[in-house]
């Protein structure tokens, strides 16, 4: 391997050598290199293997359109496959590996696929792997996946972090080349808020690859001067290494900034990538143009590259594409590349131009008019080309061929929201759609050819954009640009009669024969051809191949490229990492965690937690010696039933309702009457949906004349608030009522059991005797000698004498600690949601397991609660429907096994004894089950047809999953204290 680095020149820093590894071998480059330029400088021409045929491939481009030079960069958790070597900035210690080769890049067993190529034509997946279908999962898919030639992701976690942010501006400029810089300067000087983004390591775009002068300075110097000026202005944000990948509704743009992908070790205090959502009032798309390859036999040989890329390598990186090169072009721009090669002392053997009329060329190279390249030689690197001119063929030994098939304006962003590009015969290219919705295209992206014209166009387009949002601007004057010959191009979609495969899509190995085959087999529509041949479906999304494919399709079908049209443009313009899209939402930040204010208290007492939505709730509190959860739960239940326990109920939804019409409003929200609820009292409340079914239940306490405190179930805390806001704002805006969610403001502790009052009165200053504070009392009280004001509610979920004590959230832990300390001699027991669940089943209280959206109040024995006096409440009218009342409905009952050692599961169905299981024979189902430590056997709640009429009847609990038939007896749902005496004790 010989060095291709020139002795001088380029924008690299030759005082800063950088060491890196490729395929296990050490190399050296310079600061300012890309991985591709450094590899080329080291004479590494073979960098990858093609996807299907495993053909040797080299570097083709100098930017984000690269189809061949895909490598895996980084190690361990920082491994990133399918990086384009042409966009990877070199850093010290960079480790890169080639892909899709085994055992090595130089000797790849997969090369045999090239011999099988007659069988691997377009649509071969569809034809070969059609049947038998059973083989897909076992054989075809794993085989295709293994053969598919892309890099492999790491299984290790990514150690870096990512973030997302928003930005707002008057003008977004996409691309910081000649047109983009001029547009940004125009807007910046007018005082507009400007964001200018460019995917490269710094602003400049094509100016960085240019030797010409503009504004009295070499192009790169001009770019640096303008960039520095922009960066110094307070109203301008310059985003480098930032790809604007998508245009969404309302002029929202998606962009990804690679903040630290170019450093050896990312700083921990910065993200490696940042995802931007940019809201722009106007956008100038100055994304430039992409050079098209030419389609001729052997055009994928390492050493064949885009002419403009070769120009970038020589001018910007001081790297020669070869020692003796040829140029194959159908347009005038590649003559500049030839001139720049010669200016750098590179021997240009010939310029091969299929046109009869060729531009003037004052260099050394032989200009061959009416000529075409019809073949290439070499295998892992180019050694020569075969040129046909008239009837004669000539072999020219070269080690690099620079090709140019014309230029495609990069219109992707302008077309992502449905607008179609327009074909231009003059430009032999698709031009961007007409300006719309705040997006205008400038410079080469609009089909403008020369440097000076691009700068002027960028400035004048910015003026147009700004005038739309009422900002007067003057076009930025960059000074004169060096003259260049007028652009001319003649279409050459493929070279007929050439030898060897002529590739259209390099990354997916689609060649001209595939396109012809697709048309012959009826897949000639551009969208069909794309899918049938996979043209444009690789990670480069056909940046080089799409327009050539369209041109060839047009030839085969005897029409024009404009008639064929393009496939649909969609985000993303270039691949975006999952890390950037996920941002901070990974690991424990994937979703928020809600912890009760009593979480630490529960943790201290050894709680096992259970996730309920975003909440972590304490489920039970195992003690030493308890090895199974049931042991803990049984103990907790018995402690509450016989003594006293405390439980964290802070996760309940808590809403305060205030306003002159709060009583009237609540009366319309609940199906039971609440208007007459006195101050200082609590009441159970049932909300219906407008269709008459139960929505949620909870308690309502009247704290003052116009102030209420509502609890909802944990699950519907947010839903109930939104529902009430809807009713207040939309249905009854004339009512004076306001809501505040106070779920997070109050820690709420249930104190339950026959000795709960004995415990509580030791910390409550007020009189809470049964007379002074009876069942369903509610009010403000003082704790511990006036140290703290709190709220006390005498409500019970367990069925025991019980209270709920609410204190400001930050005092929750201290109050719980105090209760535990004071209650220790009494044996106060913390209990969790499992024990709470057991006790509510023992008491026949419902949860959303019973009120499951198919249940009306009568079904759960609450029919008489529903007000018949109220003129209106949510659900009133539809509740009266035929079918929502009547004997045959499923109704709430208890269920106990005939044999006390039997057990049944939630979801099991109820059958009459002797009935075969069927929909018709179904009598209902089990909604909740538990082991009742009080009764010493399992019990359940169930919804059963005519249930309350059938108490005492024996049924079968049929469980198809467990293959069980359990004999059970229908019972009253209140297994414990059915008369409710304990509540009032």
């Amino acid at each position: 391997m010989t060095s291709q680095r020139l002795k001088s020149g380029g924008l690299i820093d030759r005082n800063l050598p950088i060491a890196f590894m490729f395929d296990g071998k050490p190399y050296q480059g310079f600061a300012g290199d890309t991985l591709a330029s450094a590899l080329m400088a080291n004479g590494v021409g073979l960098v990858g293997r093609s996807f299907k045929y495993h053909r040797p491939r080299g570097i083709m481009t100098a930017g984000s359109s690269e189809p061949n030079a895909l490598v895996t960069v980084g190690e361990d958790g920082r491994t990133e496959p399918n990086c384009r070597a042409t966009t990877v900035e070199l850093y010290d210690g960079l480790v890169a590996r080639s892909q899709n080769r085994w055992p090595s890049l130089g000797f790849d067993v997969g090369e045999v696929n090239a011999l099988l190529s007659p069988f691997l034509g377009a649509g071969f997946y569809y034809k070969t792997f059609m049947w038998p279908a059973a083989l897909w999962e076992k054989f075809y898919e794993p085989m295709i996946r293994r053969a598919a030639g892309l890099g492999r992701a790491s299984y290790e976690p990514d150690p870096d972090h990512y973030e997302k942010c928003w930005a707002h501006c008057d003008l977004l400029v996409v691309g910081a080349g000649p047109a983009g810089l001029a547009a940004a300067m125009t807007a910046a000087q007018a005082g507009a808020r400007v964001i200018i983004a460019d995917e490269q390591s710094g602003p400049g775009g094509s100016l960085l690859s240019d030797r010409r002068e503009i504004g009295g300075a070499p192009a790169p110097t001009f770019a640096a001067k303008i960039s520095a000026e922009l960066a110094s202005m307070a109203n301008v944000t310059v985003l480098s290494r930032t790809t604007v990948f998508g245009w969404y509704d309302d002029r929202v743009f998606g962009a990804v900034e690679r903040v630290q992908k170019h450093v050896s070790v990312p700083a921990a205090d910065k993200p490696v990538e940042r995802l931007w959502r940019i809201v722009a009032k106007q956008c100038v798309l100055a994304s430039g143009a992409e050079e098209r390859p030419l389609v001729f036999g052997g055009n994928d040989r390492p050493g064949v590259m885009m002419a403009d890329a070769a120009r970038t390598y020589v001018n910007r990186y001081g790297v020669a594409a070869g020692s003796r090169v040829a140029v194959f072009t159908n347009n005038s721009s590649a003559y500049c590349a030839a001139r720049d090669m010669e200016a750098n002392g590179i021997d240009v053997a010939a310029i091969i131009d299929p046109r009869a009329e060729t531009p003037d060329y004052d260099g050394q190279a032989r200009v061959m008019a009416n000529a075409r390249v019809v073949g290439t030689r070499g295998w892992r690197g180019l050694t020569g080309i075969t040129v046909q001119r008239g009837g004669e063929q000539e072999t020219i030994p070269v080690d690099a061929l620079l090709m140019s098939g014309g230029w495609n304006p990069i219109v992707s962003l302008a077309c992502q929201r449905g607008a179609k590009p327009r074909w231009s015969d003059d430009h032999v290219a698709f031009l961007p759609p007409a300006p719309s919705d705040g997006m205008r295209t400038a410079g080469a992206a609009a089909g403008i050819a020369s440097l000076g014209n691009c700068v002027q166009h960028g400035a004048s387009i910015a003026v147009e954009c700004l005038s739309k949002i009422g900002i007067a601007a003057k076009p930025f004057d960059a000074g004169p640009a060096e003259d260049e010959p007028a652009f001319s191009v003649t279409p050459l979609w493929h070279v007929a009669g050439s030898t060897g495969k002529a590739f259209v899509d390099f990354q997916n190995d689609v060649h001209t024969d595939d396109l012809g085959l697709a048309v012959r087999e009826g897949y000639g529509h551009v969208e069909h051809t794309k899918r049938y041949t996979t043209t444009g479906m690789a990670t480069d999304q056909g940046k080089l191949s799409n327009v050539n494919a369209i041109g060839i399709l047009a030839e085969v079908r005897g029409t024009t490229p404009g008639d064929i049209g393009t496939t649909t443009y969609r985000p993303f313009y270039t691949p975006v990492s999952f890390g950037a899209l996920a941002g901070a939402h990974r690991g424990r930040h994937f979703q928020p965690v809600r912890r009760s204010p009593l979480h630490m208290w529960a943790e201290k007492h050894g709680a096992e937690f259970v996730e309920v939505g975003h909440w972590y709730r304490s489920a039970w509190f195992p003690r030493s010696g308890e090895t199974r959860w049931r042991q803990s739960v049984d103990r907790e239940v018995l402690a509450v039933r016989r003594n006293v326990g405390i439980c964290d109920v802070s996760t309940l939804g808590k809403i305060e309702i205030v306003g002159r019409d709060a009583a009237e409003f609540l009366n319309r929200i609940y199906c039971n009457g609440v208007a007459k609820l006195p101050v200082g009292k609590a009441r159970y409340g049932l909300m219906l949906r407008e269709d008459g079914f139960i929505y949620d239940d909870g308690t309502l306490s009247r704290l003052a004349e116009n102030r209420y405190f509502m609890t909802t179930t944990t699950a519907l805390a947010a839903g109930v608030l939104s529902h009430m806001e809807f009713c207040a704002q939309v249905l009854w805006p004339d009512l004076d009522v306001r809501f505040t969610s106070v779920s997070d403001q109050w820690a709420q502790i249930a104190i339950a059991g026959p000795r709960s009052r004995d415990l509580l009165k030791q910390i409550v200053d007020d009189d809470i005797s049964n007379d002074a504070f009876p069942f369903l009392a509610a009010g403000t009280i003082n704790l511990m000698g006036g140290q703290l004001s709190a709220r006390l509610f005498r409500i019970s979920y367990s069925g025991e004498l019980a209270y709920e004590l609410a204190v400001p959230a930050s005092y929750g832990e201290a109050v719980a600690n105090a209760l535990m300390a004071i209650g220790e001699p009494m044996g106060v027991t913390p209990y969790g949601t499992e024990a709470m669940g057991v006790m509510r089943i023992e008491k026949g209280h419902v949860t959303h397991a019973e009120i499951n959206g198919t249940v009306v109040p009568e079904d759960i024995g609450m029919g008489r609660m529903v007000s018949v006096k109220k003129p209106d409440f949510i659900g009133r009218r539809m509740l009266n429907r035929e079918g929502l009342s009547g004997a045959d409905r499923l109704k709430l009952v208890g269920l106990k096994p005939v044999d006390p050692s039997d057990d049944f599961s939630t979801g099991a169905h109820i059958l009459n004894p002797g009935a075969a299981p069927s929909m018709a024979a179904d009598q209902g189902h089990v909604t909740s089950t538990c082991f009742s430590p009080v009764l010493g056997h399992h019990i359940g709640l169930a919804l059963i047809k005519r249930g309350p009429e059938r108490i005492g009847e024996q049924v079968v609990v049929w469980d198809a999953l467990k293959e069980q038939d359990i004999k059970a007896i229908i019972a009253d749902p209140a297994f414990v204290d059915p008369a409710g005496e304990r509540l009032h004790a």
Partner: protein, 90 residues
């Protein structure tokens, strides 16, 4: 779907801040209206392609309910009003 919604109280905000309830076309009937009217209100939805009105709530913002007039076939949002104001102006 639009990327930004012009909340009449908070200005242009990302759509992720809002939650959608559904059609705002039907108005809640009087409590004693005929069963047909209630059936229409609770169950019947036209699901047209074209201009529609929906209830959206700015749940992560001002928490006001809004009437968003948008096109169900394309991404255009024509108008966003506070629901109370929209209803009282009818």
């Amino acid at each position: 779907m639009a990327s930004l919604i012009q909340c009449p109280h908070c200005g242009a905000r990302p759509k992720e801040e809002f939650s959608i309830k559904g059609s705002a076309e039907a108005e809640r009937p009087a409590p004693d209206a005929a069963e047909d009217a209630w059936f229409e209100y609770v169950y019947q939805r036209d699901n047209p392609i074209g201009r529609i009105e929906e209830y959206w709530q700015h749940t992560s913002g001002c928490r006001r309910w809004l009437v968003v007039e948008r096109d169900s076939g394309v991404h255009t949002v024509y108008r966003v009003l506070d629901a109370t104001a929209a209803r009282s102006s009818e």
